[in-house]
């Protein structure tokens, strides 16, 4: 057990305005990162001079060492980048910050993520295998891969598997075959997220209502995924501040404790279904989070029944169903019926989920906005507030090595 004084807590949250893909033209992605960091520190009642640590996760373009220099941090004592790719790493970055705080390496660590796909192009197209420029093509020859990932996506991209929607459509196709999962069940995830977003003025899709018919009539992207099964792409940034319970005691906001954190992957799942279709069927039809889930519940001393509200990473509706299974809210294969039962809906569902609207309807900031929403729930500040919420599960992306947190109100 950690000494009570060193229990890591989330004490500040900050975000920029969220806009549609390419909608932010008056600030760079890096400027958005700095804005979110500054707001989170201010929200906590701290000053930039108090910050001595920075943490992020894979594929971040905004180096912590530049952040520290440009913000003029008096002394950077801790900087880390989780290896967990893309959306798998948001909770891991918080966990790394928490570990640094708990063992005294740093006192105030800010976790951040900025994402302007309009400025840098779409995630998930893979490195070293970009489409060629127009004009007469050279005679194709085998080229030298510039990274491990480039060598791996050579086995998918030349076959037209462009990025996550297609790769994870194949996962859900298999899940449907094996368990009878249905489109309407995935649609329930999308419709629920949109209903939650309608109450959240920060949500990019707050003004766009969605019915089940709207969902079913949205265009097919990659079967079984329709457009509305896929998350948004947008511009924005998030940051959260982690410090010790001792330091949190006299800050501006009620502290939110990090009750448990877990990260990683199990043997066989490898880098995830995006590059590995040879894994065992039980893994292929999962979120790949069973190991993380087992360790998370054990560290917290809690079970799924103890959770009041959840923020489940939602790059695709179907993968939310798989996460619900892996984290033990229902039996394997039963994520669809669980969602269809209305369990995810605020305020009456048994597990109100993605109460900010999630990546499907609030914003796609690689899930750091899910951590922020977890904090808001436990402060009583959510626009879909679960009455008396005392514990919140936050997960990062399914389908890749991932991470998760359980947050609690002291």
């Amino acid at each position: 057990m950690r000494p009570a004084a060193r229990v890591p807590c989330l004490v500040g949250v900050g975000e920029t305005r969220y806009t549609k893909w390419g909608g932010t033209t008056d600030a760079s992605e890096y400027q958005l990162a700095l804005e979110a960091i500054t707001k989170a520190v201010s929200d906590a009642g701290l000053r930039i001079d108090d910050v001595d640590g920075l943490a992020s996760f894979a594929q971040d373009r905004n180096d912590a060492t530049f952040v520290a220099a440009d913000l003029g941090l008096p002394e950077l004592r801790y900087a880390s980048l989780s290896w967990l790719p893309g959306g798998g790493g948001a909770c891991a970055a918080v966990a790394n910050a928490a570990a640094a705080v708990a063992d005294g390496q740093a006192e105030v660590v800010v976790v951040y993520r900025a994402l302007c796909q309009g400025q840098f192009g779409r995630f998930g197209q893979g490195p070293g295998n970009q489409p060629r420029s127009p004009g007469p093509p050279p005679v194709p020859r085998i080229r030298s891969a510039k990274s491990l990932l480039a060598a791996h996506v050579a086995f998918t991209m030349p076959f037209g598997v462009f990025g996550p929607p297609i790769a994870y459509a194949m996962v859900l196709q298999r899940h449907m075959h094996r368990y009878g999962t249905m489109a309407e069940q995935m649609g329930q995830v999308a419709v629920t997220a949109r209903a939650h977003a309608a109450r959240n003025p920060r949500a990019v899709m707050a003004e766009y209502a969605m019915t089940m018919d709207d969902y079913l009539n949205s265009r097919m992207v990659s079967e079984p995924f329709r457009l509305f099964d896929c998350c948004l792409e947008n511009d924005g940034a998030c940051a959260v501040v982690v410090t010790s319970a001792e330091r949190a005691a006299d800050l501006a906001r009620p502290r939110v404790e990090i009750l448990a954190e877990a990260q990683g992957t199990l043997q066989g799942f490898g880098h995830g279904q995006y590059t590995n279709v040879s894994m065992p069927d039980d893994d292929y039809t999962s979120a790949g989070a069973r190991g993380v889930a087992r360790r998370l519940w054990a560290r917290a001393g809690l079970t799924p029944a103890d959770v009041d509200v959840a923020q489940i990473y939602d790059h695709f509706t179907g993968l939310v169903l798989l996460s619900l299974e892996d984290f033990g809210f229902c039996e394997r294969g039963q994520g669809g019926p669980f969602a269809a039962s209305g369990a995810l809906s605020w305020p009456d569902g048994s597990l109100p989920t993605n109460t900010h609207g999630g990546s499907l309807s609030e914003a796609y900031i690689h899930g750091l906005n899910h951590v922020i929403e977890g904090v808001r729930q436990l402060r009583g500040e959510s626009t879909c507030q679960v009455q008396g919420a005392a514990t919140c599960l936050v997960t990062s992306a399914a389908g890749v090595p991932t991470s998760a947190l359980i947050l609690g109100r002291p």
Partner: protein
């Protein structure tokens, strides 16, 4: 030569030290997977160490090129503009016969999207892309395809 399955703008494979032998075999229309010389487990994509026994010794196992569809997706959005006149196309994961459980991402060709199903029996067809590059695609067993 007949028209290619995908437009010329498609990305082509890049190889590293571990994967080059697969692509060299593919250029000869030989479908191979890597097999651990220590414990015999197969793996794909190729890698430098056996994840099961950690042996770094491996062999290349030539497969008959038949298999079955493990999963698939009918792609109906052009993720590259040049793909807009090739929609829909079918991507699949093929479980390879005699491959020790190994599966491979590819395309199903010569098959209406409505006919694609999990467990469909398929066989490899090669598309030559250049003097040292060919891509393995799959077609339902018993089908004759003009393209590729």
């Amino acid at each position: 030569m007949s028209e290619r399955f995908f437009p010329d703008e498609m990305p082509m494979p890049a190889a590293n030290a571990e994967t080059l032998a697969f692509w060299e075999a593919a250029a000869r229309h030989s479908l191979v997977v890597q097999r651990c010389a220590g414990c015999g487990q197969t793996r794909h994509p190729p890698g430098p160490v056996c994840p099961a026994c950690r042996s770094t010794a491996s062999q290349w196992l030539e497969l008959p090129g038949t298999g079955s569809v493990y999963t698939f997706s009918v792609v109906r959005q052009a993720f590259l503009p040049a793909l807009s006149d090739r929609l829909p196309y079918v991507v699949c994961a093929v479980e390879l016969d005699q491959g020790g459980g190994v599966r491979m991402v590819s395309n199903l060709v010569g098959c209406e999207p409505e006919r694609v199903a999990i467990d469909l029996a398929v066989t490899v067809v090669w598309e030559d892309m250049g003097p040292d590059l060919a891509l393995p695609r799959f077609t339902p067993l018993g089908t004759t395809v003009a393209r590729p």
